[in-house]
Symmetry: C2
Subunit: 157 residues, 2 copies
C-alpha cells in the first residue's frame, strides 16, 4: 500500500481504546529511526487496515519482508501486553514464521498457552477496518483470560 | 567439524535407546537427498557430539546456518515425539530463532507449556558425549511429564 492512503479516520473512536494505544506503542518500539515521531496515530496504524481492493492488489503468494513480519509481531505483542495488564501475570508472545509467511503465534502465561494461532499469508496481514482489528484482539484477549481463569495455578496465580 | 571425525562409538549402548532411535528418525526426516541412507547411525548423530577442542574451534560469535538450525529442531522434535509417546497426547515443538542464534524453544501439550528454554549460541549446539545429550533429553522429558501430571486437564487428559 502507498503511504498516501489511510483508511482510518483521525477521529475514529477506536483510536482512543487501550488496544489502539498499545498498538501505537508497539509500532513506535520498532521504529528505530524515529520515522513515526511526527506522524498522527492513524498514519502509524494505517498499514494494518487495507480495503478489499488494496488487499487484492497484493499477490496471493509472496514472501513477507521484515517490515511486515515486525507488524505481525507488534499485533501479538500488543495483545500480550493487554493480557498482562488484565491478569497481572507476564504474557510472552512467541512468533514462528517461515519465510513463506506461514507459521504459528503463541502467547504463554506461566505454563499456560493462552493463545495458539496458525498464521497464513502473513504478507497480506491486515484488517478491513480498525474496528474489526480491535474485535479480533478483544476476542483473543477474552479467550486468554478465560483460560487463565480456568487454570490459575498453571498460569502462576 | 569435519565429516571424518566421529565421537560416537559404533557400539555405544546409548545408540539403542528410544532417544537415539528417535533422533536418527528426525535426522533422516530432514535429509531430503537421502545422503544418510547408507550412513551408520553414529555418523548421522556425529554433528551433535563435539569434543571441547572441536567446540573451541567454532567462533564464539556466528550466524547459525540452515543445517545447524535444522539440527536444533531435530533435537526438540525428538523430545516432543518422546513426550507424545509417554503421555499419549500430541506434543508440539515451536522453535523461534533469530539469525544471530538466539531464541526460544517451546514444547506444548494441549494448553500446557511443558518445556520453555532460552537458546543461546545455537551455531555451537552440541554435547560432549552422546550420553550427556541423552541425559539432557531425559531431564526435559521427565520435567515435561511431571507438568502434564500436575495439570492433566490443561494438557487435555
Amino acid at each position: 500500500m502507498t503511504d498516501t492512503q489511510i483508511n482510518i479516520a483521525s477521529d475514529d473512536p477506536v483510536l482512543e481504546t487501550d488496544f489502539a494505544v498499545e498498538m501505537v506503542r508497539q509500532m513506535r518500539a520498532i521504529d528505530s529511526y524515529g520515522t513515526y515521531d511526527k506522524w498522527p496515530v492513524e498514519q502509524i496504524l494505517a498499514p494494518f487496515v487495507l480495503t478489499k481492493e488494496q488487499k487484492r492488489e497484493i499477490p496471493v503468494v509472496g514472501d513477507p519482508d521484515e517490515i511486515v513480519m515486525s507488524r505481525v509481531k507488534a499485533f501479538y505483542n500488543a495483545i500480550a501486553a493487554l493480557i498482562e495488564k488484565e491478569c497481572g501475570l507476564m504474557a510472552v508472545p512467541s512468533i514462528n514464521l517461515t519465510h513463506e509467511g506461514f507459521g504459528r503465534a503463541l502467547i504463554t502465561v506461566g505454563k499456560l498457552v493462552v493463545m495458539d494461532k496458525t498464521l497464513r499469508d502473513v504478507h497480506r496481514f491486515s484488517y478491513p477496518t480498525l474496528s474489526k482489528m480491535k474485535d479480533e484482539a478483544d476476542k483473543i484477549l477474552s479467550v486468554a483470560l478465560e483460560i487463565v481463569g480456568e487454570y490459575p495455578k498453571a498460569a502462576g496465580l
